[in-house]
């Protein structure tokens, strides 16, 4: 007994110090964990789980194979070169009848319609006539109901919609599709829309970020260097739109920018443009750019301001006294010191701009819709939530990649949000 504990330090109650320390540390750890537990739980429930749900929805395709289980198995061996055999038609009939009786055949029709347009009415028409089916010649009875049942492409579409998990939606989000042989091909030219929208969204987000930077830098500099009573006033001017509703600000831009609007009226009054030749400032890219830049400007000004505030004015003076021209010392000393603010502001503005929705929809016109409008379209109009999830996921991943690049280039702990 003595031998064992001879080289251990004991506390007064005879427990080795090491164990006692660990115990109290553990208690502290549990305490602090319990303190953050509600927050953690909150984050898991309202933040992590929806994102996981989003990710799974975009690849989950188990619905059709569950609702049409026998057809799923029967179609596995079908090669898709000729119309399916009588046997498969019969199997499909049995499945469809079961689904119809359970009132879930509608779900089948919606899902299949995403794979190929026309399935919806096809299944709806068919299920109304299921009761009159005779127990032979299923194939010809199906084709009698609708000629589409005799077209190979509908059966191929059904088979390609069967797999339990699929990345088709992701292909679709970049205007590709898998043909029946399993090859990935580009969609027909007149139906390519997503790639262009991604590029446009990226362009707008980058452009707006750059414009915000150009405008915000002098403002923030002024804010940081003016005497307090002027800078406070200026600060309120920056913050006032920040506190105003997004919709109000967008609609005020509409009043200003439209062809019969304030700006055009002034230009006509000053005889800069003629009355028949009013400028088109809205319902195109101009409108989106101007309105989004103004709306997102505070997100750039505030981080920049908070960084500039901490740069001692003596540094610039020191630079000048050492022989640098004002521009040279600005470029070499002041500007590099504002990088954390520029980084934070750009990241904020870019991330907000890439998911922007209302403003482009209102002032963007035909050439102003962005990828988020497309996501909303799938959420609300077609109810193809898998497609919306896939696009949402891509948006999320691209923002994460951007964050990663930023971290590699500038270091994320360098960021200053104000």
């Amino acid at each position: 007994m003595n031998n064992v504990s001879s080289n251990q330090i004991l506390t007064t109650d005879g427990i080795p110090l090491e164990i006692s320390l660990k115990k109290s540390e553990r208690r502290n750890k549990i305490k602090s964990f319990l303190l953050v537990a509600p927050l953690l739980l909150f984050i898991i429930v309202v933040y992590i789980s929806p994102i996981v749900n989003l990710l799974t929805r975009s690849v989950d395709n188990t619905l059709i194979s569950t609702l049409l289980p026998k057809t799923y198995i029967a179609l596995e061996d079908w090669e898709g070169k000729n119309l399916p055999s009588e046997e498969i038609y019969k199997t499909f009939f049995i499945d469809l009848e079961i689904a119809h009786k359970a009132k879930i055949s509608g779900k089948v029709s919606t899902r299949l319609n995403y794979a190929k347009g026309g399935f919806k009415s096809l299944i709806n028409k068919t299920r109304r006539k299921l009761e009159n089916f005779e127990d032979s010649n299923y194939k010809s009875q199906f084709i009698e109901i609708h000629e589409k049942w005799g077209q190979l492409e509908y059966w191929q579409a059904m088979k390609s919609a069967m797999p339990k998990y699929t990345y088709d939606k992701y292909l679709n989000a970049f205007d590709y599709e898998k043909n029946f042989e399993g090859k990935i091909v580009e969609k027909p030219k007149d139906r390519r829309v997503h790639k262009m929208l991604w590029l446009r969204t990226l362009k707008v987000a980058l452009g707006v970020t750059f414009c915000c930077f150009l405008l915000a830098f002098p403002i923030a500099h002024l804010l940081a260097t003016l005497p307090l009573r002027y800078s406070n006033l200026l600060m309120i001017c920056v913050l006032l739109p920040f506190w105003t509703s997004l919709l109000v600000r967008t609609s005020s831009w509409m009043i200003l920018l439209q062809q019969q609007g304030v700006i055009n009226d002034i230009l006509v009054y000053l005889k800069i443009v003629s009355n028949d030749n009013r400028l088109e400032l809205m319902y195109n890219m101009n409108g989106t750019f101007v309105a989004m830049t103004q709306i997102l400007l505070p997100f750039m000004v505030l981080p920049l301001y908070s960084v500039m505030k901490t740069i001692p004015p003596t540094l610039m003076r020191a630079g000048k006294s050492l022989g640098g021209t004002p521009f040279y010392s600005f470029r070499k000393i002041y500007f590099p010191l504002t990088f954390p603010g520029i980084g934070a502001g750009s990241l904020l503005v870019f991330i907000l701009a890439i998911g922007y929705y209302i403003t482009p929809a209102l002032v963007g016109g035909a050439s102003g819709t962005l990828i988020s409008n497309r996501i909303a379209y799938h959420m609300k109009e077609t109810l193809d939530w898998a497609m919306a999830s896939a696009m949402g996921t891509i948006l999320l991943v691209s923002v994460l990649i951007l964050y990663w690049i930023y971290n590699k280039l500038l270091g994320i702990d360098n960021i200053k949000l104000g």
Binding site: K103, I104, S105, G106, K107, S109, T110, N113, Y114, G117, G118, F119, K120, S121, N124, D190, R191, R192, V193, M196, L197, R200, Q258, Q259, Q260, Y283, A361, L362, G365, A366, S367, T369, R374, Y377, M379, K380, E381, T382, L383, D384, W385
Partner: protein, 370 residues
């Protein structure tokens, strides 16, 4: 005393839900919801004591699906496009009706299914109004013209009527009207779209020509209030839109614009009953009143949308001038009036339910290439 207090406390929580049932009705807002509220919502509330809450939404089934899937249904009755009643029924989001049993007969005893103009697009739909996608123009925009626009062809004629147009932001309605303006017979539009290869391209090219024409040009509208505003502000010279909104601008607000009915698309609006809500019976009872003869006639007092029921039209005819100002006759302003239906397209919701995704992609690709 203490017990009394407890009882009072408990009653605060429980009694309201027993004594005053509430029914939540979801619709499109603006002048339209107003007409529904004044036309049948308020009268029903007065009559039955059931409180009717009006909620605005902007279309689509996403909220309904969320509510039904999560089992927390707070909406009861919803105002829907035809294609959404089909999808909603397919997805099991809406209650299927036993039409003649669920809805009251006309005053003269005609069963409900015979009193409505046509059959419903799905078992979950009950008709509400007929409205029109027509167009209107600003007469001040063509000072030198003796003949004002009168046909759908004129809408695309930028030589005689130069100036910008405003058209709906989605493909629905534009495709059909473009084909008719391009010479397709109005009654054959959907057959052509389904059977003829390249019909969709033909329609889109027609619209592209209009939008790329330096004398023309397009502004796309998304909210029903926009077309009259764009016309009134002089931003565009012609705009397609919903006839009730044009009527409101002309009669209600005195804007100088003129409606053109040639090539209009007659479309229907429906009510659906959402499945799985706690007070299904009260909701059904309210819906029965809304879509009854008197209910539908009532809403037509406030907006120029035609009621679905033949018997409601008779009430309006007998009660002219039916508009709330007491001087305007409603019948000539209805999209169903004989003078307005000389050349019209009947909306085919099944076509849109089937092909929405594909056409939507082609349409977006077109818009973004402008």
């Amino acid at each position: 005393m203490k017990n009394m207090l407890k009882l009072a406390l408990i009653s605060i929580f429980f009694v309201p839900s027993l004594a005053f049932a509430e029914v939540n009705v979801v619709s499109w807002g603006g002048a339209y919801t107003e007409s529904q509220k004044l036309g049948y919502g308020d009268p029903y509330q007065e009559k039955s004591g059931v409180k009717i809450n009006w909620i605005d939404y902007s279309g689509g089934l996403s909220e309904v699906r969320t509510q039904v899937e999560s089992g927390n249904v707070t909406w009861n009755i919803i105002d829907l496009y035809a294609k959404d009643t089909i999808t909603g029924c397919d997805e099991g989001l809406l209650v299927e009706f036993d039409f003649d049993k669920d809805f009251p007969a006309a005053p003269d005893g005609t069963v409900a299914s015979k009193d409505f103009f046509t059959t419903m697009p799905s078992k979950c739909a009950v008709g509400n109004i007929l409205y029109s996608w027509n167009y209107a123009f600003n007469p001040n925009a063509f000072p030198g013209q003796d003949v004002m626009p009168s046909t759908i062809v004129d809408f695309y004629d930028t030589v005689t009527y130069p100036g910008k147009r405003s058209i709906y932001g989605s493909a629905m309605s534009n495709i059909e009207q473009a084909l008719v303006a391009d010479g397709v017979k109005a009654s054959a539009v959907y057959t052509v779209l389904e059977k003829q290869a390249g019909a969709l391209d033909r329609a889109i090219n027609k619209i592209r020509t209009l939008c790329e024409d330096p004398n023309g040009g397009c502004i796309f509208w998304t909210a029903g209030a926009q077309p009259p505003e764009l016309l009134a502000s002089g931003e565009v010279v012609m705009a397609t839109g919903w006839n009730g909104r044009f009527f409101n601008a002309i009669v209600g607000e005195g804007t100088t614009i003129t409606q053109v009915w040639d090539g209009q698309i007659l479309d229907y609006e429906y009510f659906g009953l959402i499945t799985g809500s706690p007070n299904q019976d009260e909701a059904m009872e309210a819906l029965r009143y809304f879509t009854g003869t008197e209910g539908l006639a009532g809403s037509a007092k406030y907006i120029a949308y035609a009621p679905w029921r033949v018997s409601s039209l008779e009430i309006i005819e007998a009660g002219e001038p039916w508009y709330k100002d007491g001087t305007t006759n409603m019948m000539p302003n209805m999209p169903t009036a004989a003078a307005n239906t000389q050349n019209y397209i009947l909306m085919n919701p099944e076509y849109w339910a089937d092909n929405e995704t594909e056409i939507g992609e082609a349409w977006e690709a077109f818009k973004s290439s402008l």
